[in-house]
């Protein structure tokens, strides 16, 4: 494990060094990412220009959800965002090479890159977080601070696990990468808003089965000391770490199952 981390650290620092070689390119990419991410928040602000609340949530509360989700998603993108290239690995046969090397395939795919330009998205999440804090009156205590930090980490883990789980579709159909987007980018989009806005079947599918509601919604209810409009039990507010662990177990199992099923095009 320690050994794997050391290898990962070396590969990732090499990837980062190479990305920083073209300094202007990198800065422009980061700025671009910041602005692209801001589009979604522009939508939030335009919506609140028309209504004072969405359900029971104020603009500051939605911004808080949005910020938690955006920061988690950016962290997940750093680590696993390049999984969207997995179809290329399969199509070109690079994945076959990975099967021959003495490391796990998931480890090799994940350590192949580190998308530092997603820094733009992280900074955008931080900016919205600062905005949310400036309009909300949160009664901070040690528990709420700890919960906020833990939520960003757990959210990143949940997003990463979902990413690994759904990208496995590539092992069955190489062209299917965009299906995964419905759950990864779709999941991120969903978590930017309170989940009580969605209909029950959509909540069950993307909120609980794919556990997106644990990325921001439930922990945010605790930090904001808010009543759940869905009236669900309050232990759910503290369940994100457990959900993150379960999600990782499922993602790992799915990956192993998919790789066992995988048949190279090279016959």
């Amino acid at each position: 494990m320690g050994d794997a981390l050391a290898v990962y650290g070396r590969l990732v620092s090499a990837a980062i060094r190479s990305q920083l070689q073209y300094r202007l390119s990198f800065v422009l990419d980061v700025v671009g990412m910041f602005l692209v991410a801001s589009l979604d928040f522009a939508a939030v602000l335009i919506i609140f220009h028309n209504v004072p609340r969405l359900g029971t949530f104020s603009v500051g509360e939605v911004a808080f959800l949005y910020a938690l989700s955006a920061m988690s998603f950016a962290l997940a993108e750093f680590v696993v965002g390049h999984l969207d290239l997995l179809n290329e690995y399969v199509r070109t046969g690079t994945f076959d090479v990975m099967l021959l090397r003495p490391r796990g395939t998931l480890f090799q795919v994940v350590s192949a890159d580190f998308r530092l330009r997603r820094l733009g998205q992280l900074l955008q999440g931080v900016a919205v977080f600062v905005y949310a804090l400036s309009v909300l009156d949160i009664h901070w205590n040690a528990g709420r601070v700890a919960m906020t930090l833990l939520t960003v980490i757990c959210g990143a883990v949940i997003f990463s696990a979902v990413w690994v789980f759904v990208i496995c579709v590539v092992f069955w159909t190489v062209e299917g990468t965009e299906t995964a987007n419905a759950f990864t980018y779709g999941g991120q989009f969903l978590t930017q808003y309170p989940i009580d806005l969605y209909s029950q079947w959509l909540r069950r599918l993307l909120g609980y089965a794919i556990p997106m509601s644990f990325v921001a919604y439930f922990p945010a209810l605790y930090v904001l000391d808010k009543e759940d409009p869905l009236g669900l039990p309050s232990f759910l507010r503290f369940s994100s770490p457990l959900v993150a662990v379960v999600a990782v177990v499922f993602a790992g199992a799915m990956w192993r199952f998919a790789v066992r099923h995988y048949r190279s095009a090279g016959g």
Partner: protein, 263 residues
Amino acid sequence: MRLDWELARRGYRRYAAYPAATVAGLFTNTVFGFLRGYILLALYRHRDVVGGYDSADALTYVWLTQGLIATIYIWGWQELALRIRSGDVAIDLARPVDPLRAGLAFDFGRAVYHALFRGVPPILFGALVFDLTAPSNPLVWLAFALSVAFAIGVSFSWRFLYNTSAFWLLHYRGATVMAMILANLFSGFIVPVAFFPGWLKAIAYATPFPAMVQMPIDMFVGKTSGIDVVEALALQVFWLVALLALCRGALAAGVRKLVIQGG
């Protein structure tokens, strides 16, 4: 004309060759349609009408935009920029057909495929779950079809224009990202332009972007009607011609620059 037709057929067939990619894209567009639909529906818990849209109009707007994603290629495209960067554009210029015209014909073929297989299905899925509105007057359908065709042309010429930045900029990706952001926001793709605060609405309507999304949709949901429809179509044609002229100028200037470098 015969050549345009053949090029359009190539555009159609190139995208028709990957049915699994179409299904995957369709799936994603549909999931997002549900998410966006329920979010906008939440606005109507507080009000009956927002920016002139009632809840059925807003839902129809959502599903039409989901159908237009692939049809007008709102996420943008960098094919020409990549060809300029690699030098392949020299091959395009050597061909006995104008690259702008060939590109437009090819893109219309692509758009017909995407309209049929990624445009119509999400709207049908949306109509199964939500109460959508549809025009009863066949003339409105005709105007809508025409307006979508113009929207495709405006979108293509905008994409072509920002791709030509690669003649001058090494980092063309920055320009394409900015161009994509402007188109997404001001076209009314993310939120209807009618929901914007006044000052932002004024900016949006001074740009060609509403001609890509908002104008055809406003015809469909009946926010633009009567003589205003003709005015809107004329405005779309104006933007199409203006952008094509800019493309023409940018291409000519770019080619001069390319020759200098190549010489």
